[in-house]
């Protein structure tokens, strides 16, 4: 079950019989668990499922994300090293905007912990090994805890310098706080993200503290409600930002790991479609009403964002997160001529309310959805599975207004909106691929979300991508993605070891220690450590550089051969990503990482069936506008229902294919084939 902004989506699957069903209910924003429970009950009734027979419940939630974005979290305290009270406030001393006097600075204007509740205690550690320079003043911790308690604080972050080298002081402080203030939610910075860069680590810890109590309550209540509803043998797992799921207990302790879980589940769903088709290189393209999320899968695996690239609500977060790029381009993106006379589409969106003019809820500015409707690519009667009738006259009205400003025909103006929004999307994809040294032409584009399948082919063509994949349920790909995940935890340790002077014993020991840590986490969740597979990697850079590249490490003892391979792999990645290599420069291992994952049961769809001899006939034919040979033409376009296309059926553009939660545009020159994997494969003709 995946809670989105508008709908909560459900997919139920029987992993033995491969029977799968889908369901949707409106999201209940004030208390998302209501929608979740209602939907679960409805679904069980509809598919005749006995709650007690459900073994796994996988849940994508935005509860943590929303708490940050809405700045609605706990009254939070901070205990930090004496002399460094305002690390959270000063940050990196950089303004978010270069050219602005009136800007806000999120960590100053919306502090996760206000200064009055940022208290300091004597203690100090130093590199390289976290030697104690100033011992922890335990009494000062006690006094600070009491003060914070009397201030009404119910969540405390303990953030000491260099704790990633030696967490002893933070852990001792945690014990003292827990003794003084047993109801308090306590977070230590090294337990949340044991890596260097104090502002980012402290912020991550403060954010964990800020959202902790709320998420803990949500998770606990959901668990008990599920039990009360008879889901007694079901394990609850929640989607985390690293592409795996975590136990409810783990999320209750470390809610920051779920901050980007929504778009992550989408990438996982897109990845499933690619796997079923044996495609190794995928760009996932999830387009909704306000934004497009772009993910990248190379050689069958998704990449993780670098620790310095993840931001939420304007705050930096250092939690393992898969690399997703979000841009403000979607069905609701508004098209306008700005004050200087430039034509723009987005990032402002009409959202769900009032939504595009075509929704008929009072939207009076032209959007991408209105443009599709005017061009004939969207059907008035098939929006959201027929639950909403689109208002063509209203769409024509707003597009005509824009056309007059642009001095273009109605359809030319509408197509202009699509052209600009497609170019924006293609730019974002080009960044994620070319930037990482990948040629987009070697990828397949998996297009989903309500609006992805309308844009997929044209965006792919801009980038020279030969193939677009449309998953079986494009509108609920995130919910499907939840059913493809493994239980996955990460450990990280900062090393700062260099290729010229390396202590491989220390590296090996640290990997072993991390493995023991993860094993105990899995065991806490009641799991046998033997079912867990571990993957090693490291963050490397040339000495002096400030950004690291992720490099895989082989298993086994870290002898010279393996390390030489690691450094070689680093140089290969460096040249691919930056187009340059610094000959003979020493390399630094900044962090080492270990990921443990334990396989879980996964969705398996029944293969589609061919219907030999069945003829395919359009349920309607109507004029749709497409550009052919540089002129925009109204072409007679057949319309099909997705269900009409049995395995092996092939249709040639122009064609529009409709299904309950999306509309697929196959322009002239492209052709679409229904595959046995239940995906629709579109040859873009480039």
């Amino acid at each position: 079950m995946d809670v989105g902004g508008t709908f909560t989506d459900f997919v139920v699957t029987n992993t033995e019989s491969r029977e799968t069903g889908v369901h949707k209910v409106p999201t209940t924003p004030d208390d998302p668990s209501q929608g979740v429970i209602t939907g679960l009950k409805e679904m069980c009734e509809h598919f005749d499922i006995n709650a007690g027979d459900v073994h796994h419940i996988l849940h994508g939630t935005t509860i943590a994300t929303n708490a940050v974005l809405e700045y609605d979290g706990a009254r939070t305290g901070l205990i930090t090293t004496e002399g460094y009270r305002d690390i959270l406030h000063i940050g990196r001393h950089q303004r978010p905007q270069h050219y602005s006097i009136m800007q806000d600075i999120p960590w100053q204007d919306r502090p996760l912990v206000r200064r009055a509740q940022r208290l300091t205690v004597p203690e100090r550690m130093v590199p390289p090994n976290g030697e104690v320079l100033v011992p922890l003043d335990e009494n000062a911790v006690r006094v600070a805890s009491r003060q914070l308690k009397s201030d009404g604080v119910d969540s405390i972050a303990v953030c000491f310098l260099f704790s990633y080298l030696n967490p002893m002081h933070e852990e001792r402080a945690r014990e003292i706080i827990e003794a003084e203030h047993p109801d308090c939610f306590v977070t230590t910075s090294a337990s949340v993200s044991p890596q260097f860069r104090e502002f980012e680590r402290f912020t991550t810890a403060a954010m964990n503290a800020f959202i902790g109590p709320k998420v803990r309550t949500y998770v606990n209540e959901l668990e008990s409600t599920l039990a009360a509803q008879g889901f007694c043998s079901a394990e609850l797992h929640l989607m985390s930002s690293n592409g795996g799921v975590a136990t409810a207990q783990m999320v209750a302790e470390r809610p920051v790991i779920t901050l980007l879980s929504g778009p992550t589940a989408g990438v996982m769903g897109g990845k499933l479609s690619g796997e079923l088709l044996d495609r190794q290189n995928l760009i996932t393209f999830d387009v909704g009403g306000t934004s497009a999320d772009i993910g990248l899968i190379v050689n069958g695996t998704y990449s993780e964002a670098s620790a310095r690239d993840t931001w939420i609500g304007g705050y930096p977060v250092m939690a393992p997160t898969i690399d997703i790029n979000t841009i403000g381009a979607g069905g609701g993106s508004i098209a306008y001529i700005d004050g200087g006379g430039a034509f723009r589409v987005g990032p402002e969106s009409a959202g769900a309310h009032p939504g595009p003019a075509a929704y008929g809820h009072g939207g009076d500015r032209p959007t991408v959805t209105d443009a599709h409707l005017v061009l004939g690519r969207l059907l008035q009667g098939n929006f959201l599975g027929g639950e909403m009738n689109l208002d063509l006259a209203a769409a024509i009205g707003v597009i005509d207004g824009l056309a007059r400003q642009l001095q273009l025909d109605r359809e030319e103006a509408a197509e202009g909106i699509i052209t600009v929004v497609n170019a924006n999307m293609a730019n974002a994809i080009r960044s994620r691929t070319v930037q990482k040294g990948h040629d987009p032409r070697e990828f397949s584009l998996v297009a989903f979300g309500g609006a992805g399948p309308l844009h997929g082919v044209e965006v792919a063509r801009i980038l020279g991508i030969p193939e677009v994949i449309i998953p079986p349920y494009p509108g609920i790909t995130s919910a499907v993605g939840l059913l493809t995940t493994d239980l996955k935890y990460d450990a990280i340790r900062t090393e700062f070891q260099t290729s010229v002077q390396i202590n491989s014993d220390r590296l090996s020991n640290d990997f072993n220690r991390m493995q023991a840590e993860l094993a105990s986490q899995f065991e806490k969740g009641g799991l046998n450590e033997h079912d867990v597979t571990y993957t090693r990697s490291g963050d490397l850079r040339y000495i002096g550089q400030g950004y690291e590249l992720r490099v895989p490490f082989a298993d086994g003892p870290l002898d010279e051969t393996i390390l030489a391979e690691v450094f070689q792999a680093f140089e290969t990645i460096h040249i691919r990503e930056y187009g340059h290599v610094f000959e003979q420069s020493p390399i630094e291992i900044v962090n080492i990482r270990l990921t443990g994952s334990r396989r879980m049961a996964k969705i398996k769809l029944r293969p589609g069936e061919a219907k030999p001899g069945a003829t395919l006939s359009a349920f309607e034919e109507r004029p749709c506008f497409f550009r052919v040979d540089d002129s925009l033409q109204a072409l007679d376009t057949p319309l099909y229902q997705r269900e009409q296309l049995a395995t092996g059926h092939r249709v040639t553009g122009p064609v529009i294919i409709v299904q309950k939660d999306t509309t697929i545009a196959v322009p002239p020159g492209a052709s679409a084939t229904a595959d046995a994997s239940n995906n629709l494969l579109i040859d873009t003709g480039v």
Binding site: G83, Y84, R85, D86, H89, I90, R92, H93, Q94, R95, H98, Y99, S100, I101, M102, Q103, D104, I105, Q108, R114, R115, A116, V126, P127, L161, F162, F196, R197, E198, F199, E200, I337, G339, G340, G341, A342, F343, G416, T419, V420, A423, N424, N427, R430, S431, V434, Q435, F496, Y542, I543, G544, Q545, G546, Y547, E577, Y578, G579, H580, F582, S585
Partner: protein, 591 residues
């Protein structure tokens, strides 16, 4: 060869413009991630931009700092002039190195690498990166705090349009020269290689873009986006009432110098609005200091400082959204500066330490604009300081430059930003955990400065206190401003607080330092206490919402006594606001 004039529709223009910005951003991304020295990759003191064949800016990288990207078109124009003077031509495969502060460069350490873009044998554009290098072979280590350079020759190597690759072939002697004349040359040359790789990447992408659309359409789209930015700026200027608005502020200069002409130097700005044009006249600014490097290159520093403030006030990103930065944006702004003035020096007057005077100029422009756009400015801004830390370990130099933040003045409806980089600088500090892991330095303190502020209805931003200790023998050099003149208060707001710098020696002796200190030897255990400036206040402090004053007291940034004295707000010892006593106190002052 005359180029054909193409036409472009709105939609194609928008698509090409998006692609241009994307390329500039990509260049910046690669440079920042590849580079070695913290001044580039952590402080982000680098630039990346695309420039047309006539030296007009087309797009700049969003991450780079304004004082780096902004000057790039000037670098290209300056390099082209130098090449033309020597009858050299630009060929495919060339990479041109340039840092001439009297020909477009911002100052010597900011070195540009310029890569030309050809289409069908015709020069169409340039992809260029700039970056602040750790050392450029000046008289003392580092490239900051060279405050006693007496002329341009003392500032380090001068590159006047030097080809480091000639038609694709590496010019080896130049590289030998660089390695032999620059300290920490491994880092510096590595950064230069990174700059070239990023510029080449941009050039390749740009060539593809031109190929895709054809040169006439490309040119027309570039013209359209420049015209667009120009229109926005003209509209913003036209919305201001015509007239002349003057402001003066002072820089410290060399506070400990016996020579009065080197101390307390005025910067005077007169802004004249006439319709949709603006003239910024610096007449009245101090004469150049011929043997000290606080002179500001007119092209590369002065112009950038002026444009930065004008656009940050008139086309504030927080209000107007993203505005394309290109040549069009600055067309309506005319700059007038007398010759041999601090802001228009004559060669070979030194310029290497122009950073803080230039930021003071940006602040003075805001002070003039405050008279005509009072709700869009901040009160006086606290200026910056830079310390170059250095030393020798096993006969190898280490150099680390750290920029010490300032703070903004109060704003209409908002307090000033605390402890940030200001105006044309927008760099980042270095993590303490990074510094101490790699350098013989310890950061002993990093906090907000308490009980020092510019009182106002909207209080000025708070300064910071940062303390650095040497763990082994080394040296330091300092360049900064703001030790003598506090940031100005506005509209009834009080002035802010000056910055300070103390040197505490291992023997316990303490010394207050001026804002400029040439290379000075230090012992292990010596430490600097760097006290940041507090921005000016905006509006009458006795009109400040008492709840906000209470918040400040609770947060420990002002004392209850100060609350009463400076804001007329009565707060008890147990931190309770006394509304009625406050009203009485405030009324008594009013009458």
């Amino acid at each position: 060869m005359k180029r054909t004039n193409g036409k472009v529709d709105h939609i194609t223009a928008s698509v090409i413009h998006g692609a241009l910005e994307n390329i500039a951003v990509e260049m910046g991304y690669k440079l920042m991630r590849m580079s070695y020295s913290s001044i580039i990759r952590e402080s982000e003191d680098f630039g990346a931009a695309l420039v047309d064949s006539e030296g007009r800016g087309l797009a700049e990288s969003a991450q780079s700092t304004p004082l780096q990207s902004g000057p790039i078109p000037g670098y290209v124009r300056g390099a082209l002039r130098a090449l033309a003077d020597r009858d050299e031509t630009v060929n495919p495969g060339d990479v041109i190195m340039h840092n001439d502060a009297y020909a477009g460069a911002s100052h010597g350490p900011d070195v540009a690498f310029i890569v030309p873009v050809f289409h069908e044998d015709e020069l169409i554009a340039f992809a260029t990166t700039t970056a602040h290098h750790l050392d450029i072979g000046a008289l003392t280590p580092g490239s900051c705090g060279i405050v006693d350079a007496i002329d341009a020759y003392a500032e380090g190597l001068q590159f006047k349009a030097i080809k480091v690759y000639d038609a694709g072939k590496k010019v080896a002697p130049v590289w030998h020269l660089l390695r032999d004349n620059i300290r920490v040359s491994n880092l510096v040359v590595g950064d230069m290689e990174a700059q070239i790789a990023a510029a080449r990447f941009g050039a390749e992408q740009l060539a593809n873009l031109i190929e895709r659309y054809g040169q006439p359409t490309f040119d027309a789209a570039c013209a359209a986006v420049m015209d667009y930015s120009e229109r926005l700026m003209r509209q913003a200027i036209a919305a201001l009432p015509d007239g002349s608005y003057r402001a003066t502020t002072y820089i410290d200069g060399y506070l400990d110098d016996p020579e009065p002409a080197r101390r307390e130097l005025p910067i005077m700005v007169t802004i004249t609005i006439a319709g949709d044009q603006m003239t910024v006249d610096l007449t009245g600014t101090a004469a150049q200091v011929s043997d000290r490097p606080i002179n500001m290159p007119l092209e590369g520093t002065v112009d950038i400082a002026i444009w930065l403030t004008v656009r940050s006030v008139l086309l504030d990103t927080a209000i107007h959204g993203h505005i394309p930065v290109n040549d069009g944006l600055v067309r309506p702004i005319h700059i007038v500066v007398p010759e041999r003035c601090l802001a228009n020096p004559e060669f070979p007057a030194p310029t290497i330490a122009r950073f803080c005077p230039g930021n003071q100029l940006a602040d003075t422009v805001m002070k003039a604009l405050a008279q005509v756009a009072p709700t869009r400015v901040s009160a006086g801004v606290g200026n910056l300081r830079v310390i170059a830390f250095s030393g020798l370990q096993n006969s190898e130099h280490w150099v680390h430059m750290e920029i010490f933040e300032g703070s903004y003045g109060g704003r209409y409806g908002k307090d000033g930003m605390d402890a940030v980089d200001t105006l044309y600088a927008n760099t980042r500090n270095n993590p303490i955990e990074d510094i101490e892991s790699h350098l013989p330095l310890r950061v002993r303190r990093y906090e907000l400065r308490e009980n020092a502020y510019g009182a106002g209805e909207w209080r000025g931003g708070l300064g910071s206190i940062r303390e650095f200790e040497y763990l082994s023998d080394g040296a330091a050099a300092v360049e900064g401003e703001g030790h003598k003149f506090p940031p100005w208060g506005f509209d009834g707001g009080k002035d802010g607080q000056v910055a300070g710098l103390q040197l505490v020696r291992i023997d316990g002796s303490r010394q207050d330092l001026p804002s400029k200190v040439p290379h000075t030897a230090l012992k292990a255990g010596d430490r600097f206490i760097c006290v940041g400036p507090a921005g000016g206040g905006y509006g009458d402090p006795f009109k400040r919402n008492p709840e906000l004053v209470l918040d400040d007291v609770v947060d420990g940034v002002i004392s209850p006594e100060s609350a009463m004295r400076d804001f007329g707000v009565v707060i008890s010892k147990d931190l309770v606001l006394d509304q009625s006593a406050t009203a009485v106190l405030r009324d008594s002052r009013a009458s």
